[in-house]
């Protein structure tokens, strides 16, 4: 082995370097492809207004088209704590760790992770 290392040329070293880069690139690529998607994106009227980490507990006040809503992030889960709207559907949905929370009267969409639940592309029903 020592003899093999001693016999290396510059071309060999470049080759080893390329191999290391390829391996590291592979790791990065795999992480990207299987990203856990820990971000919380809040959109109002289709425009992103907040991008938040799922790892930090906090409450955010969002001004929607209808009134004030309060989003809470706690223990890597998200819920709409308060909503100034008549149907309260978003608040009733409770805590989620992936997927979307929607407040239609306020035109607010909260996307947790990639917005897609589990290994599916959309939900019917």
């Amino acid at each position: 082995m020592k003899e093999a290392i001693r016999n290396t040329t510059t071309a060999d070293r470049i080759l080893f370097l390329l191999l290391i880069i390829a391996s590291v690139a592979g790791l990065v690529y795999t992480r990207e492809a299987f990203s856990l998607g820990s971000d919380v994106v809040v959109e109002v009227n289709g425009r992103p207004v907040y991008t938040l980490s799922l790892d930090t507990n906090r409450e955010i006040v969002i001004d929607g088209s209808h009134g004030r809503t309060v989003l809470e992030i706690k223990n890597s889960k998200v819920r709409m704590k308060e909503a100034d709207c008549n149907n309260q559907q978003c608040a009733k949905q409770g805590w989620i760790s992936r997927g979307t929370i929607v407040c239609l009267p306020n035109r607010i969409v909260v996307i947790v992770g990639s917005g897609i639940t589990k290994d599916i592309d959309a939900i019917t029903g």
Binding site: T8, A22, G46, S97, I120, D121, A122, T124, G125
Partner: protein, 340 residues
């Protein structure tokens, strides 16, 4: 190991790694955008080479859906549909080609389903208040029922007009317009050069092309008796070039005296249909899956399955006792969740 062999092996590894990464689906990515439109949530997912291409196609498509939604909004005084309803029994109303087309398709679905789907259910829909859990009086339903009859919609394609024969009649396209809009959206995306994607409007979904990994799209079907985050789905289905819609008794409902009152109203009784918990329909176009998921729900599992087969569609029906009925072809595409 000699140096030559070591070099050869290293070179082979490098070539293989290069091949793997250059062949991996790095070029096309999946882009998804969500927008509140048509009083619901519209999600568009596309496979594109760049975010610019995806964004442009999606924005143009959102605008199209928005314009169509404005034409047929049952609850807006400014829509073409409101104009038709206001002038029921008075005179015909000139409408845009899209309004004419979707009303024509609604009448066609009503004919094919023997009136189980009926777009003139508007006067009954107006009586029910699911938000405030208010059930109408029987006398109100009896009074409104004679106004429900799709045969009294007169469409003049040459003049592009629609006329409702009797005063008080109202068209409500809630059971078909979202599916129609999904089809519009898919055509718009294709026109913008998108070769594969998925459009979802409140659970009316149409897929086209494949995902970047060349696999079909996977759609989750909601569990009609969900108790928590873990049992959200009853099944998953693999789809490509197909649409799917699900109608369920859990979407808009209230429970009064141990009875579930939901929004899927039988045009013949004015009351919620009681034969099913949910109906999922799969066929080529979302306009059909939307209308027929409602129609089959009203008909119930036995009659509904007969119509589904006659129409050459696929279906998964969960009846009122929780039993799952499926057409043969859908069984190959569907995976039931463990809890079912």
């Amino acid at each position: 190991m000699t140096m030559t062999t070591f070099r050869k092996i290293s070179l082979i590894i490098l070539i293989l790694l290069t091949a793997v990464f250059s062949c991996s689906p790095g070029k096309d990515s999946v882009y998804k955008k969500t927008m509140p439109l048509m009083d619901t949530i519209v999600s568009i997912t596309v496979v594109a080479e760049s975010s610019d291409t995806a964004e442009k196609a999606i924005e143009i498509t959102f605008a199209q859906i928005g314009r169509f939604g404005d034409l047929i909004n049952f609850y807006s005084d400014n829509s073409e549909l409101a104009e038709i309803n206001r002038n029921a029994g008075v005179h015909s109303v000139k409408v845009s080609p899209q309004t004419l087309d979707v009303i024509g398709k609604a009448v066609s679905a009503a004919e094919k389903s023997g009136g189980a789907f009926d777009p003139t259910i508007g006067p009954i829909v107006k009586l029910w208040d699911f938000l405030n859990k208010k059930k109408p009086a029987e006398s109100e339903i009896v009074k409104a029922l004679p106004l429900v009859n799709y045969k009294d919609i007169l469409i003049d394609r040459a003049d592009s007009t629609v006329f409702l024969k009797r005063k008080g009649m109202m068209i409500d396209l809630g059971g078909i317009a979202k599916g129609y809009a999904v089809d519009l959206a898919v055509e718009s995306l294709k026109k913008e050069g998108i070769l594969s994607g998925l459009v979802s409007i409140a659970g009316d979904i149409r897929t086209f092309g494949m995902k970047p990994d060349k696999r079909p799209w996977i759609i989750g079907i909601k569990n009609p008796r969900q108790t928590g985050e873990k049992d959200e789905l009853v099944a998953k289905i693999r789809l490509s070039e197909k649409a799917i819609s699900t109608s369920g008794d859990y979407e808009r409902y209230f429970i009064s005296e141990d009875k579930r009152y939901h929004h899927l109203l039988d045009p013949k009784t004015g009351m919620p249909a009681s034969g099913c918990r949910s109906v999922s329909i799969v066929t080529d176009r979302a306009v059909d899956t939307d209308a027929f998921s409602t129609a089959i729900f009203i008909l119930g599992a036995v009659k509904g399955m007969k119509v589904v087969k006659e129409m050459g569609m696929d279906a998964m029906i969960i009846d009122s006792s929780g039993t799952i009925h499926m057409t043969d072809a859908i069984k190959e595409k569907i995976t039931l969740e463990r809890s079912h």
